[in-house]
């Protein structure tokens, strides 16, 4: 019933991911790039679940979305703790 609306929503979210790629490539500090990557990882969860609703196989895509959320959070925390106190504020 809402399939065309889901397609429109997915196109809008992919456009937002493209805008975040601009911040990732341009960002003045390395933490700006990490912030853009975090936003991309959070929006990709919604894109995955919408793709599951369009393909009529939500039971598979929901598990992929859960594992993607956990992996994104752990990698963000690990890279942030690795860069903490390195002093490269201008790279």
């Amino acid at each position: 019933m809402l399939d065309n609306f889901f397609v429109v929503l997915m196109v809008g979210l992919i456009f937002i991911v493209m805008l975040m790629l601009f911040r990732v490539f341009k960002g003045p500090t390395v933490f700006d790039r990490l912030n853009g990557l975090g936003v991309i990882g959070t929006d990709a969860i919604v894109i995955l679940v919408l793709l599951g609703f369009l393909e009529k196989r939500v039971d598979m895509y929901v598990d992929i979305a859960i594992s993607y959320a956990i992996l994104g959070f752990i990698s963000l925390v690990v890279i942030a703790k690795y860069l903490e106190g390195k002093g490269d504020a201008n790279s």
Partner: protein
């Protein structure tokens, strides 16, 4: 019930768009982190709640609500860790000119 799901999906897309505009256009690292940390959390949570309402009441909706709870816990923790790492490596907060 479909209209409630439509309302939640539109609200989630609105908040995600506002967070993206804030990340693109704010002047400092900490202000950009503020935009993404709050707007993106609420937007994604509202979108997934809308999808769970559209799906009905079964195991898949339970997994979707688990994703919502995990996002509400993990996204502010990630923002806080990133902000502390940036402050300890010497990024100065933005101030208005002339103060």
């Amino acid at each position: 019930m479909k209209f409630v799901a439509l309302f939640f999906l539109l609200g989630g897309f609105f908040f995600t768009t506002v967070a993206a505009i804030g990340v693109i256009r704010f002047p400092d690292f900490y202000t950009r982190l503020h935009a993404s940390g709050k707007g993106d959390t609420l937007g994604v949570a509202m979108s997934i709640i809308g999808l769970a309402i559209y799906n009905g009441f079964n195991l898949i909706s339970l997994k979707l609500m688990f994703i919502v709870v995990f996002i509400f816990l993990a996204n502010p923790i990630g923002t806080h860790v990133l902000s502390r790492a940036a402050y300890r490596s010497g990024i100065k907060p933005w101030v208005r000119k002339g103060e």
